[in-house]
């Protein structure tokens, strides 16, 4: 059964889950738990919040399972839920930031950025010890470059790079035209390129 579910598409699993097969849901969580978490984490930048939002994404899937049409693409549906939850959460965080402007220098944004930088640049301290300092610096620059992107560009960049969705589906999720999506992606890549152009790895890749 596990082999059969491993071969099944996401849409087939979702239909099975609609019929009450809980194993199908387990398989869906196993497949997309990591990418959803990373997408949410890059958007919200707070790991604990990202964890809760990731759980909420799958709970929304459970609650709205009956509304899923088997003609629809599962990933488009799932990332639409994730995106909407992220937007809601960003609004809440933004409201909280404005409310704490009178607090000392270490506000939530700076703190979360520092935490996220540590998490992403050094997710595994034991393994990273063997890596070069330059690689760590490159990854940190990448993260900073992505974080510094405007929301709309970062959203498109993450849907393309993390979720690996085609531009057509990203346009569907974000509700803008495909050319707009490509334009935002192009800007995001240009910014990333600017952040990386001083590193030797980038120079080697250019050759």
């Amino acid at each position: 059964m596990a082999a059969v579910q491993g071969d099944a598409t996401d849409e087939m699993l979702m239909v099975r889950y609609q019929r009450g097969e809980r194993k199908a849901f387990v398989e869906l969580v196993r497949r997309h738990n990591r990418s959803i978490y990373n997408f949410v984490l890059r958007q919200l930048r707070v790991p604990s919040v990202a964890e809760d939002v990731t759980q909420d994404v799958f709970m929304r899937l459970v609650q709205n399972a009956a509304e899923f049409k088997h003609e629809a693409r599962f990933l488009t549906w799932l990332y639409t839920i994730a995106r909407n939850l992220c937007i809601d959460q960003l609004r809440k965080l933004s409201h909280r930031r404005h409310a704490s402007l009178d607090q000392p220098q270490r506000d939530g944004r700076d703190q979360t950025d520092a935490q996220l930088g540590e998490t992403i640049a050094d997710p595994n301290p034991l393994a990273s010890a063997e890596r070069s300092a330059l690689s760590s610096e490159v990854r940190s620059s990448i993260v900073k470059a992505v974080d510094s992107l405007p929301d709309d560009q970062r959203e498109v960049f993450l849907l393309r790079e993390v979720a690996n969705l085609p531009f057509r589906e990203i346009a569907e999720i974000t509700g803008v035209g495909e050319n707009t999506v490509k334009s935002r992606m192009r800007y995001a890549l240009d910014r990333l390129k600017d952040a990386l152009c001083d590193f030797e790895e980038y120079a080697r890749a250019l050759r």
């Binding site: 239909v15 609609q18 019929r19 009450g20 809980r22 849901f25 387990v26 969580v29 196993r30 738990n33 990591r34 990418s35 978490y37 990373n38 984490l41 890059r42 790991p47 964890e51 990731t54 759980q55 799958f58 709970m59 459970v62 609650q63 399972a65 009956a66 998490t119 992403i120 640049a121 997710p123 490159v138 990854r139 990448i142 993260v143 470059a145 992505v146 993450l158 393309r160 790079e161 993390v162 085609p166 531009f167 050319n179 490509k182 992606m185 192009r186 890549l189 990333l192 390129k193 952040a195 990386l196 590193f199 790895e201 980038y202 890749a205 250019l206």
Partner: protein, 378 residues
């Protein structure tokens, strides 16, 4: 391909979303255009180096999700639960195996329904089969030709299909036996083409059953059969007086063999006493038993008249028989033969008259034979 178009599709090229032809055209353009080549290389290097490092989700996140899902499923409102159950049932119902099984059951059910249904009102359908099967009574009997007996009609031995009487019971047929008849009688039977004689003979012999239906009394029937068989045996053995007596008794008693017995009785009388006595009896049988037996009697009466020289009466009978389909051909042939015979007799009479006149004058001898006497018939 130009640089403007390249700018539009360079991201599709980077993420392999171009078809093969466009991709090849774009790569050819990059080979000749330094600007586009630099753009493409820069984007590719950015993507290779700047791939976002993926963060592993915290341990236990999956378990938390599954636990939350379990709780959420239990807390689902009853409407959604019913919908999910219905969806589950519908999913099973839509499987091809279930559809095929349902179709098969429908076919079997409809077949049983139509097999059970019988058109019409069964209370009014009553079929009663009486008598004995034909195969028990029908037999093939070939009687060898007797030296002293007249040539039996070449009727064959296969009876005609037994028709049914009006009440639906099968007509009972006796074994077909060839009639030992006088030669003149046998000729028309033998001349009948293609087994018509057989059919006719069978019909003649079985006509008694046409006239009177069997009542199913097996004892009386067996007694009658035995008497008839004894009479026929006497007839075939040449004991015509005894045969005539037995046939007359059977005919007087009536029954299924009365008609045939009457006919055979007169035939036996003809053997004993000759045509002068038998001819009126044949006429009586003809009058009493209309049908095939009566026609047989009329034919034999005509035969007697012809042998007695009463050609006018014989012709009269033949003309009557020409209305009977089974005798039509033979009757016409017999009439033609009679006409020829009358013409011959007239010619002979004229010649005799001429010869007599010549003899009276004593000049010319009689040069023609006297007319043949009429057939001395029995």
């Amino acid at each position: 391909m130009d640089c403007e178009k390249f700018d539009r599709i360079v991201l599709d090229l980077l993420y392999d979303e171009l078809d093969e032809l466009t991709s090849a055209a774009t790569r050819r353009h990059m080979e000749h255009c330094a600007r586009c080549r630099a753009i493409g290389s820069g984007l590719r290097a950015t993507r290779e180096v700047g791939a976002l490092p993926m963060v592993e989700p915290p341990e236990g996140l999956s378990l938390r999700i599954l636990h939350a899902e379990e709780q959420a499923t239990q807390l689902l409102p009853i409407g959604k639960r019913l919908g999910r159950g219905l969806s589950l049932l519908a999913g099973y119902a839509m499987r091809p195996q279930v559809s095929m099984a349902a179709l098969l059951m429908l076919m079997i059910g409809s077949s049983l329904f139509f097999l059970r249904a019988q058109p019409g009102d069964r209370e009014h359908v009553l079929v009663t089969e009486r008598g004995v099967p034909e195969s028990d009574n029908e037999s093939v009997t070939i009687v060898p030709k007797k030296a002293d007996a007249p040539e039996p009609a070449r009727m064959a031995t296969r009876p005609a299909p037994s028709p049914r009487s009006e009440d639906g019971a099968p007509r009972r047929e006796r074994a077909v036996e060839p009639k030992p008849e006088a030669a003149p009688l046998s000729v028309p039977f033998a001349a009948a083409p293609g087994g018509q004689a057989a059919a006719h003979g069978s019909a003649a012999l079985g006509s008694s059953a046409d006239d009177k239906d069997l009542d199913g009394n097996s004892e009386a029937s067996s007694d009658s059969d035995a008497s008839y068989d004894a009479a026929m045996a006497a007839y075939r053995d040449g004991r015509y007086s005894e045969a005539q007596r037995r046939f007359d008794e059977i005919s007087a008693l009536g029954g299924p063999h009365a008609a045939n017995a009457a006919l055979y009785g007169v035939q036996a009388l003809r053997r004993v006493s000759g045509c002068p006595t038998a001819a009126p009896r044949f006429e009586a049988v003809h009058s009493r038993y209309p049908g095939s037996v009566g026609s047989d009697a009329a034919w034999q009466a005509a035969d007697c008249y012809r042998s007695l020289g009463e050609l006018a009466r014989a012709r009269q009978n033949y003309e009557q028989l020409s209305a009977d389909p089974s005798y039509k051909t033979r009757a016409k042939e017999a009439i033609a033969e009679l006409d020829q015979r009358v013409a011959d007799q007239e010619l002979a009479a004229r010649r005799a008259t001429t010869a007599t006149a010549a003899a009276a004058k004593g000049k010319a001898p009689a040069d023609s034979a006297p007319a043949k006497p009429a057939d001395g018939g029995k």
